[in-house]
Amino acid sequence: CGFHLRGASEFPFKTIYVQGSETTPLGVSLRRNLKGQENTALVDNEKDADVVLDILSERPEKVILSLTVQGLVREYTLNSYLTFQVRNSDGKLFLPPTTIVLHRVISYNENVILSKAAEEAMLYKDMQGDLIQQVVRRLSVLKMD
């Protein structure tokens, strides 16, 4: 039915510089992922990079999803917002500012709040991996004309 094993996804550029979120977990693992790409080098200054990935904003959010009949919170929705753009070092935009929004639902109960904190961290980490996958995929089909 037409499926074939995925070929090597090559970036249409040789060097990339990531600007923004230098110390956040997402920034660190995104840079580690890009460093792992064979045919593209992660450089550490904007000048000699064919492509500059600007991480404009990264925002977690926790919103009440549903209540119990006693008026206590039963579920939260955890959102991860990532806004980024791709340009070259003299400002020509390849990809205008784009926002990816992911969300996960987490149940909540006051009596297990300490374990919920650990679970929340796990879900945010999972969304972070998903966000990085999507950014890498956008970079691999980037139109550079």
């Binding site: 995925r6 009440i64 039963r74």
Partner: protein, 765 residues
């Protein structure tokens, strides 16, 4: 006076070809930029002194164009004077009046009985006189300011003096009175307003709302724009049932630190025998040194019912555990260490039976953790070691210590279309229990040491496909994940920070079904999953379907309860039926999930988890969001959670919300989160927005359940009303319901903001 329209006719200034002097010799000089081009029926005078223009005069200089019956140009002072239906267009702001004078260089001058129309917010008005201070600032005397079209504006601000600053987008009115439909609704000796929503100090328009717990409330906030990176808001508040309250919020932001302090105090709460009631919330984050970060999150309320009595929103009223946390962290490339101190202030629900009360979580005083880990180290291994020391202090003040070491090592074999990752991890924890815990778990220092092996593998297939009428790349990602963790009796290990994690696509590919460090779930389990994604040409993930089958080859035995079963009671009519359930996890689960855009306007999310071994649906949620056009959205979602030991009542809810135009200029907003099993609306909202070209009126009523402060009644509902009159370009009067609307109605868009594409929501599992 009639509001002038900005009809600056475009005149083609005849080309003044040069005199016999050959033009090449005269290069384009810098001062040509402020040269003055004039046109008139007659010009007389001495060019180096005073030139008079008469008859349909038009003078153009830089961005300004002046039309008048007659005009004079004083060359020495570079000054223009004009008389007789003067009209001046500067950038896109248009002024007309009788007599006009302006020093062209600095832009200072005046215009008598001006009628003005500014580009920003379509602001306009008329006055007796207007003084231009410079290119951006002007002072309007005895003037009227509005943003409404036409000669009979719905609202206008009349003030003795109005300082307009289009450069800094600020307007300051002295002795201003706002008339709405010719009825004065707001007066203030001094009022600043945004020509656009930039920050400026000043009295903010009053806010009034009403809640069942507090009655009618009136707040007149004052905003201090202290510095570009510091501002504060003071809001004196009068609550009819409770008396005066003073609130304040101070925000600061710097390169290495930022923070927010919010405090409110009611010296004498009339509804609570005149007690003093307060709440404080202080957030502070700081990078002390590169890599060394500190954060403080301290919240405190004066008493248990504060959240309910003083809540304006559900986020406040449902907050019954106030975190008081301090963290310190230092990290380098492959290791980091951290210190955490954490306590929760419990806002207990009023005298409900002990079993329903909120138990105070253990205080973490302190927790030290260290993490070190490298990937692709010595020949392709990924390894990491997490060590953690925690001192748990019970509500009785008894300390118990826990020391945990978790080394893990894996060897990821990855290619472009496959990955195989074997992983060994080990959990070693030792406890020094406090006296009461030691007796109840009949061992004072239990030890838990459990190895875990997991093998994760997957393939990536792709094909070009035409789905949903578009050319897409469809992926097919089979994945196999095997976990083997031997059983270890953990009944003598008390529970400090552990619970069963929700089952979802993130959790089913983790080794431990518990989150926290006190339980390592035994497992001999295989999870087979198949994910298919539809990816647009630009790389955007449009749709995602996934199905996973989890199979335990042996019944998992580790639970986080003392007894391996739990009981639930259901009230049927007047008798209640109690049933007991095993708290052992199900042996096999089928999970299906879908999320993404079916069409450009219809997105859907669905998750279904069916336990084959218990022949029951554990959880089922499905919903859709239909957003055919900006400011038009309908969301509907069904959510079912089966009873579980953490959630003995289970949940069966329908959540419907919408923002929909009801009639020209009328927009309806509504939400109902209805609990089927309780046959009650847990969280409801209804309201409308009426939009005119220069003002919007919003009325929103919100009703949500809050824990009862009265015994026996499980919960009472709080209704809060929001009224708001937003005068475009002037200010918002009344409480701002936008926060509540955005929270209750996913996809809600304020009706006066430029309409942007609805946010692209996706991937809910």
């Amino acid at each position: 006076g009639d509001i002038a329209t900005a009809a600056a006719t475009s005149t083609d200034v005849t080309d003044v070809s040069s005199a016999p002097v050959d033009t090449e010799a005269v290069a384009q000089r810098p001062e040509d930029s402020n040269k003055i081009t004039a046109r008139a029926e007659q010009m007389t005078g001495r060019p180096d002194r005073i030139l008079n223009f008469d008859g349909q005069v038009e003078i153009v200089r830089g961005p300004s164009t002046l039309n008048a019956d007659t005009a004079e140009y004083h060359a020495i002072e570079d000054l223009v004077m004009a008389h007789g239906n003067v009209q001046m267009l500067r950038n896109k702001d248009c002024y007309s009046g009788d007599t006009f004078q302006m020093q062209m260089d600095t832009g200072s001058g005046y215009l008598t009985n001006p009628v003005y129309q500014l580009e920003k917010n379509n602001a306009r008005g008329f006055a007796t006189r207007m003084d231009f201070i410079d290119k951006d600032q002007s002072v309007v005397e005895q003037g009227v300011y509005t943003t409404c079209e036409g000669t009979k504006p719905d609202w206008y601000l009349r003030s003795s003096r109005l300082d307009l600053d289009t450069g800094r987008d600020e307007g300051v009115a002295t002795n201003g009175v706002v008339f709405f439909k010719d009825v004065p609704i707001l007066g203030s000796p001094w009022m600043s307003f945004p020509i656009s929503d930039a920050r400026r100090s000043g009295v903010l328009p009053p806010e009034f709302s009403s809640t069942t717990t507090g009655g009618a409330e009136l707040t007149v906030p004052y905003y201090f724009d202290i510095a570009p990176n510091r501002d504060a808001t003071i809001f004196p508040n009068y609550i009819s049932k409770r008396g005066e309250q003073l609130g304040g919020e101070f925000r600061y932001l710097d390169s290495t630190y930022s923070g927010l302090l919010h405090a409110e105090i009611t010296p004498q709460d009339a509804a609570d025998n005149n007690d003093t009631r307060y709440s404080i919330s202080y957030l502070h984050n700081q990078t002390l040194l590169p890599g060394l970060t500190m954060s403080l999150n301290y919240n405190r309320a004066s008493d248990d019912n504060y959240a309910i009595d003083y809540s304006h929103s559900i986020t406040q009223s449902s907050q019954h555990l106030l975190p008081q946390m301090f963290t310190l962290g230092y990290g380098q490339s492959f290791w980091n260490v951290g210190l955490t101190m954490l306590n929760y202030q419990v806002l207990q629900i009023a005298d409900v039976p002990l079993t329903d009360q909120i138990q105070k979580p253990y205080q973490i005083m302190p927790q030290l953790l260290a993490h070190a880990g490298k990937i692709n180290d010595f020949g392709g291994f990924d390894w990491s070691i997490d060590t953690q020391y925690t001192n748990f202090r019970s509500s009785t003040g008894e300390d118990s210590e826990r020391f945990v070491v978790q080394p893990q090592i894996s060897y990821p074999i990855t290619g472009t279309y496959y990955f195989i990752t074997p992983k060994f991890s080990y959990h070693l924890s030792e406890y020094r229990l406090g006296e009461t815990l030691a007796t109840s778990s009949n061992s004072s220092d239990p030890v838990l040491s459990v190895p875990t092996f997991s093998l994760d593998s997957g393939l990536y297939f792709e094909r070009e496909a035409n789905l949903f009428g578009r050319d897409l790349t469809q992926t097919l990602e089979p994945r196999l994940f095997y976990v083997n963790t031997p059983y270890r009796d953990q009944t003598n290990v008390p529970i400090f920070d552990t619970g069963i994690a929700d089952i979802n696509f993130a959790q089913i590919f983790t080794e431990n079904r518990f989150s926290g460090q006190d339980r390592v779930g035994d497992a001999n389990q295989l999870t087979a999953a198949l994910i298919t994604r539809a990816i647009e040409m630009d790389g955007q993930e449009r749709m995602r379907f996934a199905i996973a089958q989890r199979l335990s080859f042996s019944q998992p035995l580790v639970t986080d309860t003392i007894t391996p079963f739990y009981s639930t009671t259901i009230i049927e009519g007047n008798n209640s039926i109690t049933t007991t359930h095993s708290s052992l996890p199900s042996r096999s689960d089928l999970i299906f999930a879908a999320s993404g855009k079916l069409t450009n306007t219809l997105t859907t999310d669905a998750l279904w988890q069916y336990s084959q071994s218990q022949q029951s649906t554990a959880q089922l949620t499905y919903g859709f969001k239909w957003q055919p056009a900006p400011m038009q959205v309908i969301n509907a979602e069904y959510r079912f959670q089966n009873i579980s030991e953490v959630d003995p009542e289970g949940m069966k809810q329908i959540d419907v919300s919408a923002q929909w135009p009801l009639a020209p200029r009328w927009y309806g907003v509504a939400r109902a989160n209805y609990s089927i099993q309780d046959r009650r609306i847990l969280d409801g909202l209804i309201g409308f927005e009426y939009k005119q070209d220069c003002w919007i009126f919003r009325a929103v009523a919100q009703r949500y359940l809050v824990p009862s402060t009265v015994a026996e009644i499980t919960s009472s509902s709080t209704t809060s009303l929001f009224f708001q009159l937003e005068l475009n370009g002037l200010s918002k009067i009344g409480t701002n319901p936008l926060q509540a609307l955005k929270r209750s109605i996913p996809g809600y868009q304020p009706i006066n903001q430029p309409t942007t594409q609805p946010g692209y929501q996706q991937n809910n599992f």
